[in-house]
């Protein structure tokens, strides 16, 4: 049976005792807490600011438009940003799956959940692919003129931090290293500051786009007869 226990919470009472905890774990928990609080703050802003009231008479199916916004509209067959840029799109998808997988593994690591060797191999191979995708996207930003002109330091830092986080996750699967915690902490602290916060705003943006197109009966798109 797997013994589940949050790292650092080792005393019998389960009480939080940061003085008995390794410094890197304290740093990680602190970063995680700050990150979560900041994300809650950003999310609460979206709610607090609210959506603009629409007085026009709706003509579409709003519910279907919202569902479409998160599903069909995201399909690579529907977006030029995907089907005209398939290598970048594929790398981006792998990279995002790798990122979410790394976050999931981070939670498992915090809870001391061990992985069977075979799963470790599978995870490492996928995360390595994801790491390469991240590197590819980074190199593209460095060398493609138009992308370079569009980029600011935050774009590079965000890409580097996430890619490094994935690399550290692979390493951690085989070798428990303090650098994993440091990298993860920096990423968690940085996430709410720069463009990585699109993690939260992305969903709201797609919701608002669905409101616009849904009320007007643009989404879901009609099949042209």
């Amino acid at each position: 049976m797997v013994h589940v226990e949050l790292q650092g919470f080792l005393n019998p009472t389960g009480a939080f005792n940061c003085t008995a905890m390794a410094w890197y774990l304290v740093l990680t928990y602190f970063s995680l807490l700050l990150c979560l609080l900041s994300c809650i703050y950003h999310f609460s802003r979206i709610i607090r600011f609210g959506k603009p009231e629409d007085f026009s008479k709706p003509s579409g199916d709003l519910k279907a438009a919202i569902i479409y916004s998160y599903t069909g509209a995201m399909s690579p067959t529907k977006k030029e940003s995907a089907y005209l840029h398939l290598p970048t799109y594929t790398a981006g998808i792998i990279y995002h799956i790798g990122t979410f997988l790394s976050i999931f593994l981070f939670i498992l690591i915090l809870f001391n959940i061990p992985f069977p060797e075979i799963i470790k191999w599978g995870l490492s191979i996928f995360l390595f692919l994801s790491f390469l995708s991240g590197m590819g996207i980074l190199l593209k930003r460095f060398f493609k003129k138009e992308l370079k002109e569009l980029s600011n330091p935050d774009d590079y830092i965000s890409n580097i931090l996430v890619t490094l986080f994935q690399l550290m996750t692979i390493i951690f699967l085989y070798n428990n290293t303090v650098f994993y915690y440091i990298t993860t902490s920096i990423l968690l602290l940085y996430l709410p500051l720069g463009k990585l916060k699109h993690t939260i705003y992305f969903f709201a943006a797609r919701y608002h786009l669905a409101l616009f197109f849904g009320l007007r009966n643009v989404w879901p798109p009609k099949k042209i007869k």
Partner: protein
Amino acid sequence: MEKITESQIEKGLQILKSLQNGKFISHANSCVHCGLCGESCMYYLAEKKSKFLPAQKVDLITSIYKKYFTFTGKTFPKLVNARELDEKTVNEMIDLFFGACTMCGRCNLHCSIGVDIAFLVRTGRIMLTEMGLTPASLQSTVNATISSGNNMSITTQEFVDTLKWLEEDLRDEVNDPNASIPLNEKGKDVMYTLNPREPKFFPLSISAMAKVFYAAKESWTISTEMYDITNYAFFSGNLKEARIIANRMVKEVKNLNVVNLVLAECGHGDRAFRWEAPNYLKTKFDFNVITSVELLAKYIKLGSVKVNKEKIKEIVTLHDPCNLVRNFGIVDEQRYVLSKTVSNFVEMTPHGIDNFCCGGGGGQLAMSEYNERRLKIGEIKANQIKKTGAQIVVTPCHNCVDQLVQLNSHYKLNVQIKTLAEIVADALIID
């Protein structure tokens, strides 16, 4: 280069602050600078310069937002390219928001994230207008509407004379001395609006619609007080003036006590009134608003008018106005009408909600300072038309008609440009 004062900056920032809502902050914080939006924008496709990437336009407005309204932008401006609202920024804003975007919204659909880029550009235009920096040519169009009641400054006498002349023509054409273009009649089912380009340059499109109304035995009227459906103030970002213009139309609908307001073939005007006016007037309309495209489709569907598609044998293609398809959801109706009125129809590639803008939208036709750029980006549309082999290009938008007429001459397309009403009128069978 525009010189700006502290007071202008203050006004710009105040309006930006007041425009912040859940929609704005969601879109302003979502762009990841992937740069994959370029191929969806005709400015970028035509110019192939980084500054024309839709993402650069997003970055321009969000860089100001970050600088004044976010922790990171205020504390570490260089990290996120947070920019001061100064002369350099303002001049870039004028060039990109007014001169390099028709707000067609094509990039919105294709953005990898789903950022409403046209909405952010319009926010930038609202800021510039609040700062008194609307391009003079565009503002003069708005001023003409405010002072004369229509954007072409047509006098009432001139307008009435034109309609009387068209009425005589209609009587001859349908061979009925009682056929009429009713003016200012109260209690009718339909109040029909116009784009002032019609009485000024394209009167035959009014004749065409009058002929359709005659065939459908419609109870209709045109107001000589307020017939202009366009609202360039909506595009310039001047909400106060947009309200004045829209309010006049609402008042006239009530004054004439009509049941349905029928919007002329004018993409931006239709959108600005049907979808946007209720929001800037903060009111729900208590009368029906439909486009003439929907009405034409309804007439044919219900058999109110009879048409013969064998009358039009030329190859016909359709240009979808951005404001009608992407910002209004009218995609099938114009196709249905064409399926019944022309015998040889060819779609452009791409079409429907993916269609490219003609290049004349977003007030571009009114801004002569960007004429060269407007014609250059129009090459995409010209090539689309060429590839269809069409002899007639139909578009239910007078603004698009204007741009297409210019593209026709500039790129030697040798096509006829027609509105949907003109096509229906040509295919009409009058008993």
